[in-house]
């Protein structure tokens, strides 16, 4: 065996280790960015579904003011094929108010908002929308 191989081996091991640390740092940054982009896309989609669900809940409530229980929201095929679901849950009237919970789910993430209505001269009057859960 040639002399000096020990030094070369040591140097190469040190340089490889240093480069590996650098690559790990880069991969960590990349992983965080990819994860965040994916989460932001899913979150935006869930909020879109909440907005669609609110419009549907409003229409359903005006069509049948005493409506209670859970009603699924129809979603486009592209979303339904991905396993996305959305629903409106009409709570029974409490005092002069009624709450409707709109829930959306996609890829394990969920978002939920609560719409509050109160009785008015022409039927239900929308009072507030509260975002309870959004990823």
């Amino acid at each position: 065996m040639r002399r000096g191989n020990g030094f070369a081996t040591f140097t190469s091991v040190v340089i490889t280790a240093v480069v590996a640390i650098g690559v790990m740092g880069l991969l960590l940054t990349l992983r965080v960015d990819v994860k965040r982009t994916r989460a932001a896309t899913q979150s935006a989609q869930l909020r879109q579904m909440l907005i669609a669900g609110a419009a549907e809940a409003d229409a359903l409530l005006r069509a049948a003011p005493s409506r209670t229980g859970e009603h699924p929201v129809a979603l486009p095929d592209t979303l339904a094929d991905l396993g996305a679901t959305a629903s409106c849950t009409f709570e029974p009237m409490r005092g002069d108010r009624k709450r409707v919970a709109v829930t959306a789910a996609l890829n394990g993430g969920t978002a939920r908002q609560v719409l509050t209505y109160e009785t008015g001269p022409g039927g239900w009057v929308f009072v507030s929308a509260e975002l309870e859960r959004s990823p």
Binding site: V18, G25, R36, A129, L131
Partner: protein, 146 residues
Amino acid sequence: MRQRAFSLIELVILLALLGVFMLVGSRLFAHSMGLSRDAAAHERTVARVDHLLRELRRDVWSARSIDIDEDQTVRLEQPGDGSVRWSVQTTDDGATVQRNDERAITIPAPLTFEAVDGGDALRVTIGRQPAVLVSQQRLMTEGGGR
């Protein structure tokens, strides 16, 4: 057989090579450490920005109106009598954002607010990245017909 000793030239070359290796190695090491540190700092910044946007989104979602002052203070009128105020202070390193008098959130980039879609949404630009936060409250009351 007697082993040949190193000549002076060989020693000088060896020292020069060692010096070069040390220099390159230390630079590489410092750069790698910097990358790891930057990755951790980046992750912390992302978490802070996400937290800020989540809180702001919740307030905008239920806002009856979105008003922005000249000093970039946003007033979000909530159902009932209350309102929420988000203020921004631009610093040399970025911006400090505060919700009412709660704990301020510091981010390493400038932040600006702009009302969009006829006041139905708030555009938050952090650095050069915009995010549009929609008011469901206004969509239900003001924008239902749009």
